[in-house]
């Protein structure tokens, strides 16, 4: 096992070994969640602070359940919700976090890079639970786990990501996590919602852009639909939600173009009837509920790896 990270900020610089370490530990954590008593003691006496400066229910609850399943104490800090004035106000929060003495800070923030700012100024381990449009590493890891569980080895598997790639930290983290595992990725979505450089061919290795969703799905091994933020229409990037749904929505007919039995995923919360048809979201190929369960286990694995052991200096393991 290769693991010597102090924070989980982004998976963009992770090796395949590190990703596989987390996925392997996740498998052991899934087993804990299936026991009659869904709790193990490794984080007894540790404090996990959940600092969510941007609204989130499922990710926060997922981290909370993960921390509690490992017997950690959990404290919540929710920001007032006022517009985020980075710098002073975030710095004040960091000083509070430092004074509270948490062992792990899990944070979500509307500004890209905010977790890096905190990680440099606190003794705690920092886990990025989503920062702006930048990264959502635990979502990338749980998607990788879910896909590997469904498809086996991801080498040469072709995964389609469809929707608002431009504003999606999920898409970026999925790409950064799936590529080192050998997967190939096809992006699809309205050209206005794809980063310009990517749309014009300057794509990362093993990633392609296909402007026709039907062609993108032909023979694919899995599809991940992204959530459409409704306010994108107001900003002029979309003609209408109805048109989006007609051209980019995942319907049963579209899903049938993929390899037989290929799974459908979505990071949630879904706009059913817009980016995904209810029959697909709740159909037999849907792994959307598995993603939620796996999310708790992935977060347990990361909390264990960051805070499960004690001191910073390795000592010899006893027999």
């Amino acid at each position: 096992m290769k693991w010597n990270r102090r924070h989980v900020l982004d998976t963009d610089d992770w090796s395949r070994d590190e990703i596989e370490t987390v996925l392997d530990q996740t498998r052991a954590m899934i087993e804990i969640l299936q026991r009659p008593i869904r709790r193990a003691p490794p984080l007894r006496g540790r404090t996990v602070i959940l600092f969510f400066a941007e609204s989130s229910t499922r990710t926060r609850v997922s981290f909370e359940l993960a921390a509690k399943a490992l017997s950690a104490d959990v404290t919540n800090i929710t920001a007032s919700g006022s517009s985020v004035d980075k710098g002073e106000s975030l710095y004040d929060t960091v000083r509070t976090l430092q004074a509270l003495g948490g062992d792990v800070v899990v944070m979500r923030h509307a500004s890209s890079g905010a977790p890096y700012f905190v990680a440099e100024r606190t003794d705690a381990a920092v886990i990025n639970a989503g920062d702006g449009w930048h990264a959502h590493p635990t979502q990338g890891l749980l998607d990788a786990y879910t896909l590997r569980d469904a498809l086996g080895d991801l080498e040469e598997k072709r995964i389609v990501i469809v929707g608002d790639v431009l504003h999606s930290r999920v898409a970026r983290s999925d790409i950064n996590t799936l590529l080192p595992l050998g997967a190939r990725i096809t992006l699809s979505g309205p050209p206005t919602l794809i980063p310009t450089a990517w749309r014009c061919g300057q794509l990362p290795h093993s990633v392609t852009y296909e402007s026709d969703l039907d062609l993108a799905l032909d023979g694919a091994d899995a599809v991940i639909a992204l959530r459409l933020q409704r306010e994108r229409q107001a900003s002029g990037l979309l003609p209408s939600l109805r048109e989006y749904s007609r051209v980019w929505g995942l319907t049963a007919e579209r899903v049938a173009r993929m390899r037989s039995g290929a799974p459908v995923m979505h990071p949630g919360p879904m706009n059913e009837g817009i980016e995904i048809d209810p029959a697909v979201a709740h159909g037999t190929r849907s792994l959307i509920e598995a993603q939620v369960t796996n999310g708790v286990a992935v977060r347990m694995a990361l909390l264990y790896l960051l805070a499960g052991a004690g001191t910073a200096t390795p000592v010899e393991e006893r027999a």
């Binding site: 096992m1 693991w3 010597n4 392997d24 530990q25 498998r27 052991a28 954590m29 899934i30 087993e31 804990i32 026991r35 009659p36 008593i37 709790r39 193990a40 003691p41 490794p42 006496g45 490992l70 264990y304 790896l305 960051l306 499960g308 052991a309 004690g310 001191t311 910073a312 200096t313 390795p314 000592v315 393991e317 006893r318 027999a319």
Partner: protein, 176 residues
Amino acid sequence: MLLAADDVRRAITRIAHEIVERDRDLSALAIIGIRARGDALAARIQSAIRANEGTLVPIGAIDITLYRDDLTRIGYAPVVRESEIPFSVDERVVVLVDDVLFTGRTIRAAMDALVDYGRPRAIRLAVLVDRGHRELPIRADFVGKNVPTAPGDDVRVHLAEVDGRDEVEVVTRVPA
């Protein structure tokens, strides 16, 4: 060398007999090995009991990493492996199996983990080697071989499933 391949085989056969004699009701019996070598021993005890009695006793594997009492004292998070207990332990007589019994701390951790799965009627302990130097009030019910050792000695159990061969050796630390 302490035990050769044939000694290991005979020790396991004997332990299998002792387990059956102790608890004649095989329907309530289950064998759970502690990873990484106890699970291999559990499978061998299972086949020995099957050969003698014709009954297939359920087996499981348990990983005790998350229950170690020294987690906060080691510098890195050790690998957690998946536990597999595909049956209810409630009201069963569970025989825990490990390769070496030393301080007893692993067994304490295994018992803590086991009760998270339910309430066994009894927990018994089978080990291939008991090398002494207990730090907790724990003793084994079934022992392959008792071996007097010095605290600094290293008892190495090799099993075909994990290490490619069956052998137990004691490496004595020579004072410098």
